[in-house]
Symmetry: C2
Subunit: 617 residues, 2 copies
């Protein structure tokens, strides 16, 4: 299998992925979690996805020649959407080519989210007190800061006389919103970091960002962990059950989560070579249940009709009171939710993607352990939650696994089954994008029929021989061998079982039916949607045509489907670096209409219909 | 001595004082801490000081007949400023006759401080969550309250699901400023109390007030204690020395204070028959050092040139974090200071007296352990602190004591020395007003000369014999026996010594010189001042003519001198019952100009001059 696999390394991250020969470079970047700008949808007409191939760049395409100068071509610059990978390569991706960096980080443009962190530092020289100037310490500090109405709280007041009398007249004030968070002796303006968390049901991601002025925020370090609460159940409902059925269940769940967040923080600090004390603010997004647990708020009402949350709005609290090991005066900002099953991760998606700003009607789909779908534009937004289950994260799939090393992330079915494995070695199992690939390709090969049934081996007479041999019987039902036992790490084959196909049908039907219902509520046909934004770890790997093939997405031109990566995490980072975005998030939270699918008579019909696969084209 | 003493009881307080026969009733009320309205200055021309003598009312005066109806006269109503006490009596004082109640508490007038407490309760019915109304618990609560922008903090969010699911749909929200402080199941609107503290260097007063709507705040209970910090020194400078010289000195000092405040609170709760939990807000005033210690802020910088405070502005904190045993969600509001030696007690005086509102230029003098003087009107205010020392509180006086039972509070010198004793029994010592009386009367009798020297017994030939016998030698200096050993509780005489007179000279000179300096700074001659407002426990007892006689006050018509009682405590109560007054206090704190007397070349000259007593009229 590795004969057809190429190794692609992206700089400056140094992140490597293994892809099938012929894969577009822009897709490989997506697999590496690097989302490139492609306003033209990969047509080669906008020239925005330029990258530098650092050695042995392939021949330029005609689109390359239109958008790049002779010198650039010589230096190895190419358009990532046009480059079909034919060999191992190392690619350097500049900031301006990156989707979110372009949206949130680049300077010098009319940005929606200018670099203006909520937490900032200001070096001031305090006036020496004299008999002619007997202003109090606090008054002198406030005057030196030259901003009206900055609040000072008691812990700082208590510490202030020692701080201002310990060194020279120079002190560094840490400002957080309209509050003087703390004052440090001397000039500490160089040490100012923030951390943004995306607390998923299954995966937790932390990003450490450097926040000092002048505006030069760089995403510095990212780390992730499996949410240790998976021990208590795969999905939010089983987590809530645990809380309801166990004494101190909420506190136990919360402690596990905090331990994980602090582990991530320790890794980030160590990678950046900084102290925990240098982190002055944290932001967090998550689904509503995760946010409740994180904040120590009982999420139980979410699990029972009528499924209400305790809390919708954003929360600011002292990070140390919550249990985060960062600067003890640091603030924690948890973004607002929309409803019990549409959390701040969806608010963050809307915020980061700009869905709530433009005129065009876009569809955002975040596929994680649950699926959230949102449709709309700046005038109106509608969201729903689809009980898709964790199939696309590899759970409840016979050989399913998360999209980590050893997972089959891509499947091609021609005369035989070919796969690409994350990390390039032997396969251990299959992740969500691999499952979609497998189902789509097997549909096209006629091995899965539109009802989802896998052809019995004895009925597969017209199937090419190598492929026919892959059809086996597993637990009294047909199944397809994707990788045989000799080529796996486990010693057994990696199969796609009949039950796996049913799981995929249930999951994709839930998302598709949710999409149909909210599109109808919004008053557009799914085909009239300007763009589909696919978010979530899963979205990075999926093949757009295959997502349509299995019916997960409506029948919309492929060039109108964008991968936007981990938009939830990007939203958390946006809140960290742009304080005004918090009001925008609050507005999104308040104004997005939530549709409870369970209460919609049209949902069941749409769900049943979406269960089938579209017929072969 | 008790032959000439009458017992007067004031209702509804049930407070009793003993006064010399012939004392005006309005003055006796002042001794009882009940300050009556007297816009005309006691001339009998305004009719505002009416009280009801409940039995055996004396014959009406001509002023009574002008201002009161025949029916009122028959019922025993009299003008307190005209009534000379001739026998024991019981007097009932209606709300509208009370100075501060008229200013801050009465309804139905254009009040400066309308009844609008910062803490309030609102009974609401929460909408039942349904699939059609999936608003979060917090959203439903906020909507039911119908006020925009009320904040909810994390501890309440954590408690909310249990509270709203524990009883019926009715809950009582406790609102504090713009925050929802807490939510209680059911209707608890009837239980809403607040406590206002005046933390003096020597005396601490607490007032418990009932705050439920409709506007019917009554001053319910008052309790006071000696500040237990007196153990560490008489004045603020010695308290600060203790803090500087002892490990954990600040914390020790603070603990003593908190114990005292909580003792007062326990007494108040027990007297009102309520639980500590029913107190939802506390306000406090004090001099700047006391406020710093109370809040756990190191006051040391105040004691050293250039005498700056750490904190000028107001502070809001959770009362339980500070250590007050009231409702655990209650707020504590500490009013703002002006400078290191002019604290929130002076801000409270300005606030309560209305000095900062009118056009007329008034002089406020608060005599406690220290003396603060403030002059001005709504356009401009100037304040200073006079290092008067605690002589007027009875400290550093040979037989000095506080104005409690057994203290000589009044002295009359004719053929002999006559005194009135607080409580009516035998004398134990002499308090501030008695000392002023003694000095003033002995000046008029020629026994003290304008330089402050007490006539030697052998030079007192022209003095009436019984009086001459009162002049003795004590520690090689002349002294005057006020009460001889047979008539005291101690078995020894109560004396006014030469050193006592010197202490009075130093104290009154400091206050008078401060007055002169800030009046000059303001640009008025002291005689041009519209009104003098005398505040502090001491102010309640002093005879106005005698305060002028010793030179404590400038030579201003007696009817322009008002007693305003414990104005600091009244300011603390005002902040409790009128949230808008807190902004006014902040403005007073910011805009009042502070004059550092130590830095003024004109102060020393004024001080030397004020040391002498005015010559006999």
């Amino acid at each position: 299998m590795s004969r057809g696999t190429c190794r692609v390394t992206f700089q400056p991250e140094g992140r490597t992925v293994f892809v099938l020969r012929g894969t577009k470079l822009i897709e490989a970047a997506g697999q590496a979690g690097i989302i490139l700008n492609q306003p033209c949808g990969g047509e080669g007409t906008c020239g925005k996805c330029r990258v530098e191939v650092t050695d042995d760049a392939p021949q330029p395409t005609s689109a390359d020649r239109v958008h790049l100068t002779e010198g650039q071509l010589t230096d190895g610059w190419r358009l990532a959407c046009q480059l079909e990978i034919a060999s191992d390569m190392v690619v350097s991706v500049p900031q301006e080519t990156r989707f979110f960096e372009q949206v949130v980080l680049t300077e010098g443009k009319a940005l929606r989210h200018p670099f203006r962190p909520n937490v900032r530092k200001k070096l001031v020289t305090l006036a020496e007190p004299t008999v002619a100037d007997q202003r109090s310490d606090v008054d002198r500090l406030q005057a030196a800061l030259g901003e009206d109405g900055l609040e000072v709280e008691l812990p700082l007041i208590r510490a202030l006389p020692a701080i201002v009398r310990s060194g020279g007249p120079e002190v560094t004030a840490v400002l957080q919103g309209e509050t003087i968070q703390w004052v440090e002796a001397g000039d500490t303006t160089g040490q100012l970091w923030g951390v943004a968390f995306d607390i998923g049901t299954t995966t937790i991601v932390g990003a450490l960002m450097n926040l000092p002025p002048p505006p030069q925020a760089d995403l510095q370090k990212v780390a992730s962990r499996t949410n240790p609460q998976v021990h208590f159940g795969d999905d939010v409902v089983s987590r809530i059950s645990y809380i309801e059925q166990n004494a101190n269940g909420l506190e136990k769940m919360r402690e596990r989560l905090l331990t994980c967040l602090n582990d991530i923080m320790a890794e980030l600090c160590s990678a950046a070579g900084i102290e925990h004390d240098s982190i002055y603010e944290a932001t967090a997004v998550g689904n509503t249940t995760m946010s409740h647990i994180f904040l120590g708020v009982d999420p139980s009402p979410i699990a029972h009709a009528p499924y209400v949350a305790v809390l919708r709005g954003s929360v600011d609290a002292r990070a140390c009171d919550i249990g985060l090991h960062i600067n003890r005066h640091a603030n924690l900002h948890v973004l607002p939710n929309i409803a019990g099953f549409v959390g701040s991760d969806t608010v963050a998606l809307i915020l980061a993607s700009g869905m709530a700003c433009g005129e065009e009607v876009q569809l955002g789909i975040d596929i994680g352990t649950n699926g959230e779908v949102v449709i709309g534009n700046r005038d109106r937004l509608i969201a729903c939650s689809c009980a898709a289950g964790p199939a696309f994260e590899g759970a409840r799939i016979q050989h399913g696994m998360r999209a980590t090393e050893g997972a089959i992330s891509k499947v091609v079915v021609n005369q035989e089954v070919e796969v690409a494995v994350i990390g390039g070695g032997k396969a251990s199992g299959i992740c969500g994008s691999g499952i979609i690939d497998a189902v789509a390709e097997l549909l096209d090969a006629g091995i899965i029929d539109p009802t989802g049934r896998i052809t019995n081996p004895e009925d597969a007479g017209d199937v090419p021989e190598p492929l026919r041999r892959a059809i086996v019987t597993f637990e009294d039902q047909p199944a397809v061998v994707l990788v045989d036992a000799a080529q796996t790490r486990t010693g057994g084959p990696v199969l796609l079982s009949q039950r796996d196909v049913r799981e995929v049908q249930l999951a994709k039907a839930a998302i598709r039916a949710g999409t149909e219902v909210i599109a109808a509520e919004y008053g557009v046909a799914p085909e009239e949607i300007s763009r589909v934004l696919l978010a979530g770890g899963f979205g990075n790997f999926i093949r757009r045509s295959h997502a349509k093939r299995v019916g997960l997405l409506p029948d919309i031109s492929t060039d109108r489907i964008d991968f936007i990566g981990n938009a939830a995490a990007t939203g958390a980072k946006t809140a960290l670096i742009c304080r005004d975005s918090r009001q925008e998030a609050e507005r999104i939270s308040r104004e997005t209409q939530y549709v409870e699918l369970a209460a919609r008579p049209d949902f069941q019909a749409a769900y049943m219909e979406a269960m089938m696969f579209p017929p072969r084209a």
